[in-house]
């Protein structure tokens, strides 16, 4: 019945397991992106297209780019060129590629071959989500904006370059 769901769930569990067992942080990031994509596909199958799009745009897009930036900042050194040479060997990218190809095939199958009757899945449209978000949950939106402002100020304060060498400030 729900074969696409079980395939996507298996991909999510496998790629998450690979995330916590990798040694190299960038390889773990690759697998984490695959895991997030499969969770987005599960959201899509659950009838929640809005959060599926948000999952890809914000999680797999913005937050992962932040991780890549930090890993790149910390990785400066003579060993990075040698590391780059090792990144191009096939056994590193073949795992994420296979899992992502599985997800892409599944997405194509769902888009092309499956006719869904509207009564089969109770789809929650972005309109309903928006009405709920700015209706009963408007206080939560205000609190989220405060939280984001605090995160911005905190990240700016912590990420400033020290004038003196070493020596963390109290």
């Amino acid at each position: 019945m729900n074969t696409p769901f079980y395939i996507a769930a298996a991909v999510a569990v496998i790629s998450t397991f690979m995330v916590i067992t990798r040694r190299n942080a960038v390889h773990a990031l690759l697998y984490l992106i695959v895991s997030l994509l499969s969770v987005a596909l599960i959201f899509f199958l659950l009838g929640a297209p809005f959060v599926a799009a948000l999952e890809i745009i914000i999680y797999a897009g913005a937050i992962m780019v932040l991780f890549v930036f930090v890993i790149m900042m910390l990785n400066l050194g003579p060993q990075s060129t040698e590391m780059e040479r090792r990144w191009l060997t096939p056994e590193i990218w073949v795992g994420p590629t296979i899992l992502t190809a599985l997800l892409a095939a599944e997405l194509l199958y769902v888009l092309v071959r499956v006719q869904v009757r509207p009564s089969d899945i109770n789809v929650i449209t972005p309109k309903q989500v928006g009405i709920a978000l700015l209706g009963p949950y408007v206080l939560g939106v205000e609190l989220a904006s405060l939280l984001l402002l605090a995160g911005l100020v905190g990240a700016f304060h912590l990420g400033r370059r020290e004038k003196s060498d070493g020596g963390g400030r109290a």
Partner: protein
Amino acid sequence: MISQIPFEHGLLLAGALFVLGLIGVMVRRNIIFILLSIEVMLNAAGLAFVVAGSRWSQPDGQVMFIFILTMAAAEVSVGLALVIRLYHVFKTLDADCAGKMRG
């Protein structure tokens, strides 16, 4: 053929992903991996919310997912700033090096 996904199976998947993230937090000592595992756990919690919202066909689950997303973004920005600071001070990413407090 696609029909409604069983509620229990969605929650089971969310629980499995959460446990994997928890294992990652407990086992790994590299602080970047700890942050990645926290992301996995937050994502699993959001998945549970969306599954429950889909079960009762209410938008509340997706609203909670948006809040979790916001919180994850704020958390990861502060966390990564702390990682950079930790690396500048200790020259390592080992979380155990930062286990002692000063003062």
